[in-house]
Amino acid sequence: MDFGPYLLLASLEGAVGAAVLALTALGLSLVFGVMRIVNVAHGEFYMLGAVIAWWVTSMVGGHPALGFVAAMVVSPLIVGIAAAAAERLVLRRLDYDPEATIVATIGLLYVIQQLALSTYGADARPVAAPIDFRVQFPWFGYSGYKLCVIGASAVMMLAVWLVLTHTRVGLMMRATQHDPETARAFAIPVDRVYAGVFAIGAMLAALGAVLIVPIQQAHYLMGHDPLLLSFIVVIIGGLGSLRGTVLAAVIIGMSDGIISVFFSPTLAKILATLLVAFVLVWRPAGLFGARPA
C-alpha cells in the first residue's frame, strides 16, 4: 500500500486506540489524582466491564443496539458498585497507604480475574456491534463502528470534564484532591468522595471496555494490556493531571499505530516501555504535569 493511505489507516487505528485508552486511563488518573493511590486492579475493572457487557447483550434480544445500550448502562453500574465495595472493605482500612494499596490491588486483580474465569469461562466471546456499516475508502475498508467509538469517547470525556469543573460533585473532588484535611474542615465528606472517585475510576474503565468489546472480544485475561498502557499514559501525561492524561493517550495511541509502521512491532513496544521509564526518571511529574514544589 502507498504511504499516504497507509498513514491514514495507521492514524485511524491510532485514534480508535487513543479514544478507548483515554477513557480507561482517565479513570486511573482520576483515582491517582484525588486519592494518591495506584490501582493495579484497574485493568480487571475494564475486563469486568467487557464481560458484563457480553452478559447483558446476550440476555437482551432484538436489535444488537438494544443490548449494547443496556450494557452501556448496566455494566459500568455493576463495576462501580464492585469498586465501591472494594474501596470500603479494603482500601479504606489500609488508610490509602500507597504501597499497601498496591499490594492489596494486586490481590484484587487475581480475585477478579479468577472470578471471571470460574463464572464466565476461558473463551473469548464477541459482542455484536450496535451499528453495522463499513466505510469503503479507495484503498481499504474501515469499520463504521470504530469511527463511532472515537466520537462516543470524546463525548464521554467531555461529560467527565463538565462534571469535574461545573458541578458541586466536581468541586468536592477537586477540593479533596487539593487538600483532604482542609476539605474535611469545609464539611466535605472526604470518605464518600474517595469511595465515589474509586467507583467512577472503575466505571470509566468499564465504559472503555463496553466500547471496545464489539471490536475485541471479552476475555478474562484482557485487562493486562489496558493496565500497562494506562500506566504509561498516566505517567507520560503527568500523574494526576487529567488534561495531560488525555493528551498522552492521544500521543501514545497515535504513535503506537505509526511507530509500528517503521519498526518491528515488538521492538517498538520495547522502546515505548523504556521511554516511559526514562520519562519517570528524568521528569518524575510526567511530560505535562506540574513540576513538584
Binding site: 489507516l9 464477541p126 463499513r134 481499504f140 512491532p265 513496544k269
Partner: protein, 436 residues
Amino acid sequence: MSSTTAPQAQKVRSAITRRTALKGLAGGAALAAAPGFVPYIQAQSSAPLKLGFQVHRTGIGAAYGRWYDRVTTAAAALINEEGGINGRMIEIVTEDDGTDPKRGAEVVEKLASQHGCDLAFGTLFSHVVMGSSPRAGELKLPYFVVSEGHHVASGKLNRYTLQPGITDVKSQVRAMAPWVSQNLGKKVTMIFPDYAFGHDHRDFFSEAIAAQGGEVIEKIAIPPTESSFTRYFPRIPRDTEVIYHVMVGPGVLTFVKELGEFYGSGARPQIFGFIDSLEAVDIATPGLEFLEGTYFWEGMPRYAPADAPEYETFYRERVGVDANGASVSDSKDISTYAHMFGCWETLHVIKAGMEAAGYQGPDDRVKLIEAVEAMTTMPAGRAHPQGDKVFNGKTHQVFGHQYISQVADAKLSVVHTASIEDGMYPDETDYTAQPF
C-alpha cells in the same frame, strides 16, 4: 530416590527380545488385537492404572484445556467400558498446570511422585511441554504430549517424551505447501505471532513453499501482547497472491474480523489460514462473513462431512460434539475440534502400547516406551478417528493426514486431504539411541 534403576536395567534387556518379536506384528492394530500376548505373567494387580493428565484449566490455555479435558474423559470412559487396559480400569488423575512452565514441571512431579501415576499426558502449550519434559525424563515418567509443537521431533527433549497423538507443526505446514502453491498462488505473505510458535510456521513454511517454487514475499510478525491488528495489514504487499495467517490466543477473532474489514468488498488475495486462528470460534459469528471462500488448515474437519466414516461419527458422539463442531449441550460452545482428537488418540496409543508391553506397573515404563517406539502404522478407526497415521519411533513423532477446508455458507468443507507423505521430513534425531 532412584532405587528402581537397578532392577529396571535387567528388564530392559528382557524387553529387547520382546520388541524384536513385536516388530513382526506390523503395528498398532495387530498390537491392539492381541491384548493377551504377554510372554511372562507378572503379579496381576486389579487396582486401576493411573494416567496423569496435565491440563490447562487456568491461564492462557484454559479454552483449549476445557475441551482436552472433555475428550480425555470421554476416551477414558470408552476404554473402561471396553474392559480397560490389560484387564485393569484406568483412572485419569487431573492436575491443572495454569499454562505455566514452572507449575507444569511441578505438576509432572506431583503426578509421578505423589499420585504415583504410571505416566503423564495431555500437555498442549509448547512452553509448558518444554518446562515439564526435563522433569519427566529425570523422573523416568513416560510423558505423552498433545502439543503439535516440533519440540519432540527436533530432538530437544528426551526418550521419555513422545507425541503419538497429533502431527507436529513442521509436518502440518509442509503438507500445506504443495496444495497452496498449486491452487492459491506462489507469492505468499505470512502473518504470525512473534514468538516461537509463529516462528516455527514462518521458518517451516518458507522452506516448504520455496521447495514448491513459491516464495514468501513478506513476513509480518505480530507481538504477542497485541490486541488490535489493522495497522499491520498495509504491510501486505500488493502483489501478494496468498495471505497465510496463523494466530493464537484471545485476540484471534479480532484479528480475523479486522482482516475482513481491511479488505472489505474490494479485491483481495486468496486467504489461507490455520484454524488455530478460529479454534473454538463459530464461523457464523457476525463480522466473519468475508471468510466465505477462504481456506483453512484443519487437523480434523470440524463440520461432519456427509460421507463421514462410522468411526468419525462414533468419536463425535462420544465426545459430545454435534455435526457443526459445537457441544451437543450448547450450540454456542464451539470445540477445539482440530486439535482435541489428539487426546483421544494418545490414550488409545497408550492403551495399545501398554497391552503390547504387558504393562503391569511403573516398573514396566521402559517397556511401554519401547512398545510405542516400535509402533509404525496406525490404521484409521475408533482408536484413530482423525485418520490413519505413521509413527516414527526414532523421533517419537506421529504423522497423519492434514485437511484443507473452504468456508462455504459459514461452514467449513474439506477440499483437500494431504497425504501423510506430504508432511514427512528427514529425521532430526534418534531418541532410541538414548539410554533410558
